[in-house]
Symmetry: C2
Subunit: 274 residues, 2 copies
């Protein structure tokens, strides 16, 4: 298999990748960057379209990387080989493993969410730091959420640091991006209870029942959840903090509430089964 | 109050600050960088020694920043004023607020931990990413932990991104850094139960009782908890993950177990009080 080889970091295709990393939203209307074996494997498994794959075989860790490139090629990716130096010019990871893909974005409308019975959803309002949103995606996916609704501005859901922080789960968890008002209307129409996590609430987060259809809402890193969500909430809950700190990282807060919901749901299932 | 003014980014003192940011461990034997009003306020409140304070009044958000600089000066800090451009050369934050301090490190030996009755501790083994360790410090502090033991290598606990991620709680939560074997011996000597969080465990994390003296152990981002901890553990627990993802960010995992412990402790207290 003979592939084109790029050895110069000033090659226009590599310049395009660097632009995509610098300003994903401006330069990535239709595509986004996915770096590393684990992430690309998840992308291919999910069946998303990998348009270009840049590989540096000198950096490969083993045969699995060769296989991954072959699979991407079979699926229609334009695979380009890079010298170690040329790859370094586009790598974002501290320890690059020689694999970066340019992947097509997919639809993130609310209609793309498919819900099972008694769905569990996570709503992230205005989360600004892509690393936080990626970590939230990973936690929501692990907790068994049916999907994530990112609303009210904030980071691009396809930012390279969202992809990295999600450790491949961005390709597994159904995702929607919309205005807050649309998200609220969509949840209301489906009779999904809205549980807003905010430090001002009186009720501990473990006091409500998560077994029914529920959307857990977390807010912006500095300002928390906005009034639209607080005003419409069916439940306002807080995470009681017995220590001297009075706030949590938003991804940790989302994880704490999501896994309380998972605990209740698993325990309910266990009781029913026994 | 007349202070020295630096307008050139090539000033040797600013070069020293940049070196400290690039390689905190190599260049920061005795000191570390603390950036931003909220963090410096926490440092001063905790009574740590702020050796130098670099301020750019052009970037101040309000009078509180002026007051903070005055307080630092009263406490013996050498306060230096910088032009906006000179400050930009040492700033690490995307939105610098004109305040960076050079702060003395303190002792992080196990002996510096002071325990109340039935202490709750968090052990972080080999956590590599400073942002993760900072987020763990914040979560442990909020959950009411008595202290954090960072062991088995990993990031410098005084890395600028630990400070930033901890949002000031690095100055509130007692911290120790040591070898794993020393940490284990220290916990054993004090009859503190060791509960290790690892995906291989059978027991859900909520099935154990956290009301007694307990150390929760989480491990490295890629490799998890090492054998020394698994072999010595009194309890091995996992966070059940009903979704298709099978792992969590280490700070989220720490948060989930810590706040399960906090929930149990608060509920026990509520039952006793009623």
């Amino acid at each position: 298999m003979s592939r084109p080889l790029i050895t110069s970091s000033s090659n226009p295709r590599l310049k395009a990748v660097r632009r995509l990393r610098r300003a994903p939203r401006r330069n990535g209307d239709g595509v986004f960057l996915v770096e590393g074996h684990r992430q690309l494997a998840a992308a291919l498994e999910a069946g998303v379209c990998v348009r270009e794959l840049f590989v540096a075989p000198d950096l490969f860790l083993g045969d699995a990387d060769v296989e991954l490139a072959r699979l991407a090629e079979l699926r229609g990716a334009d695979v380009v080989e890079l010298s170690r130096e040329a790859f370094a010019s586009i790598a974002g990871n501290a320890r690059p493993d020689g694999i970066i893909g340019v992947v097509e974005r997919w639809s993130v409308s609310l209609d793309s969410l498919r819900l099972g019975p008694n769905p569990l959803l996570l709503v992230a309002e205005g989360v600004e730091r892509p690393g936080n949103l990626g970590t939230i995606v990973r936690a929501a996916c692990a907790a068994g959420a049916d999907g994530l609704i990112a609303c009210g501005g904030g980071t691009d859901a396809f930012h390279p640091d969202v992809v990295r922080g999600s450790v491949g789960t961005l390709f597994k968890l159904p995702l929607a991006r919309c205005d807050c008002s649309d998200a609220i209307a969509w949840l209301r129409k489906r009779d999904i209870r809205i549980a807003v996590a905010t430090p001002d609430a009186a009720l501990p987060h473990w006091e409500i029942d998560y077994a029914c259809a529920t959307a857990i809402v977390v807010g912006n890193e500095r300002y928390g959840v906005g009034n639209a969500w607080v005003d419409t909430a069916d439940e306002l809950v807080q995470i009681p903090m017995p220590g001297p700190a009075d706030s949590l990282n938003v991804a940790v807060a989302a994880g704490v509430v999501l896994f309380e919901a998972a605990r209740q749901r698993l325990q309910t299932r266990a009781v029913r089964a026994s």
